[in-house]
């Protein structure tokens, strides 16, 4: 589905990614772990075309996408759900969701996707006329995820969806992700700091440290890995 080869990315003069390579199969649920500043967001933004890699190549469904603009990538069915949400504060929830279906190819089955999003997050249905900036943090994250789903993506890139949320909300969102993966057959690439959450719901994981892939493996294996615990807590 997605194949990244030896990508080097520079951010404001600083090298953020050092020849990162990874590969994700169709319908897989993969997570990228790593501490803050390890390059997780950079990696996702590079895939989505927001940043240009200096070297290396990215293939999506065997098509090179590393030179494409972000709006082209969006219409291929690769949706990024960014860390900060990048919501449209002065637009209603419904309009925010509609924007997710902006690419021409996505405009056909808006109704179905919208229903799916409201089914996933019923709270959004009640608030669909409300302006996005008046929502709480968790609801905003739901809008962000929902907006990503609106284009019926083949693959979803999620950047720390649990950031700064209350546990109960995190639970809802992660549950929704599992549903998306299972029901919609959507490939998911998720980044998380909270490795426990991530490994629990994903199939495979990569550990990113200082811009390099440090370790990879099946989630269950990684969950038991001593290095990870040590690396995180220093014990």
């Amino acid at each position: 589905m997605l194949k990244i080869e030896n990508v080097n990315v520079f951010y404001d003069g600083l090298q953020a990614l050092y020849s990162v390579s990874l590969e994700i199969q169709v319908e897989e649920f993969v997570c990228i772990l790593g501490p803050n500043g390890a390059g997780k967001s950079t990696l996702l933004q590079t895939i989505a075309g927001m940043l240009a890699p200096k070297q290396g190549s990215i293939f999506f469904e065997n098509r090179p996408i590393h030179g494409l603009e972000s709006y082209n990538i969006a219409s291929l069915g690769l949706a990024l759900i960014p860390e900060e949400g990048w919501l449209y504060g002065q637009m209603s929830v419904e309009e925010n969701l509609l924007m997710g279906a902006y690419p021409k190819s996505a405009r056909k089955n808006i109704k179905r996707q919208m229903d799916f999003v409201f089914d996933l997050f019923p709270v959004l249905f009640d608030r669909k006329k409300q302006l996005a900036e008046t929502l709480s943090g968790g609801q905003r994250q739901m809008v962000a995820v929902g907006r990503g789903l609106m284009c019926n993506p083949k693959m979803l890139l999620l950047d720390e969806p649990s950031l700064g949320l209350a546990p109960i909300v995190i639970k809802d969102i992660l549950k929704a992700l599992v549903r998306i993966n299972k029901e919609e057959k959507t490939t998911i690439l998720l980044t998380e700091q909270n490795i426990f959450h991530a490994l629990k719901i994903s199939q495979r994981g990569y550990l990113l440290e200082n811009g390099k892939i440090f370790m990879q493996g099946a989630s269950k294996e990684l969950l038991g890995n001593k290095h990870i615990k040590k690396n995180y807590l220093g014990v």
Partner: protein, 244 residues
């Protein structure tokens, strides 16, 4: 742990709360920072660490609570007054004065008459580059410059915001050495917000752990490493998912 920590309180925060538009960032935090210690403030992203620093330095006015520095209340003062009282800071993404030379960056902040810029720049290894514009420096150099700029105001307390985030291992090592030198040579107390646990465990005398706007633990590195709440905050609670 090179110094024997002395138990004089330098900074006292009492019942500090901060909220933006009704959204609590942190609530009811009380902490003491003792002189000549390296104190670390840890916690997952979004826990409110940077906001706490901004409250101490006067960028934000805390919605509730008091901060006292060397026994004098400083909450409500403007940032430059707090700086002059003896608190220096750095930023997560370095913010030197980009269109000024390295030397000017130090000159502008230092009190008149104190001209020991060479010492500060040697520490950062930037003396040779003192006539360069800050924007021509690398990321790491900017961070070092910012550090020496913060020292140029002769602070008693230095607030560091993620000083080693985004550095590679060898750079991290260098930075740690520099931090230790700063602590011992300049006799400053350091409050250090950081993510990289290994570095903190090695350097800090005392650690506070902030999670979702509350102080959930404090103590020596060893205490923190074995604290259940901390482990939970980092590794997450156990969730049971209905997996097929």
């Amino acid at each position: 742990m090179t110094n024997t920590p002395q138990q004089t309180s330098l900074l006292q925060a009492r019942n500090l709360s901060m909220a933006f538009g009704g959204l609590d960032v942190f609530k009811d935090i009380s902490l003491d920072i003792f002189e000549h210690q390296i104190v670390a403030l840890i916690g997952p992203n979004g826990a409110g660490k940077t906001t706490l620093i901004n409250c101490i330095t006067g960028v934000y006015k805390p919605t509730e609570g008091n901060i006292a520095f060397q026994g004098k209340p400083i909450s409500g003062l403007r940032p430059h007054q707090i700086c002059r009282a003896g608190i220096g800071r750095t930023y997560q993404i370095p913010r030197p004065f980009m269109n000024m030379t390295v030397l000017q960056n130090l000159q502008v902040c230092a009190k008149p008459g104190e001209k020991d810029f060479r010492r500060l720049l040697d520490l950062a290894g930037l003396w040779e580059k003192r006539h360069r514009l800050a924007k021509a420096l690398t990321f790491q150099e900017r961070r070092l410059l910012e550090l020496s700029r913060a020292l140029s105001v002769n602070p008693k307390l230095l607030l560091l915001d993620e000083t080693i985030a985004g550095l590679n291992p060898s750079e991290t090592k260098d930075m740690m050495t520099i931090l230790k030198r700063i602590h011992s040579e300049f006799k400053v107390t350091i409050l250090w917000v950081e993510h990289v646990m290994s570095a903190i465990m090695e350097t800090a005398h005392h650690i506070f752990c902030l999670h979702q706007g509350a102080l959930i633990a404090e103590g020596s590195p060893a205490d923190i490493a074995n604290n259940d709440k901390v482990i939970e905050a980092y590794l997450g609670e156990e969730y049971k998912f209905q997996e097929k």
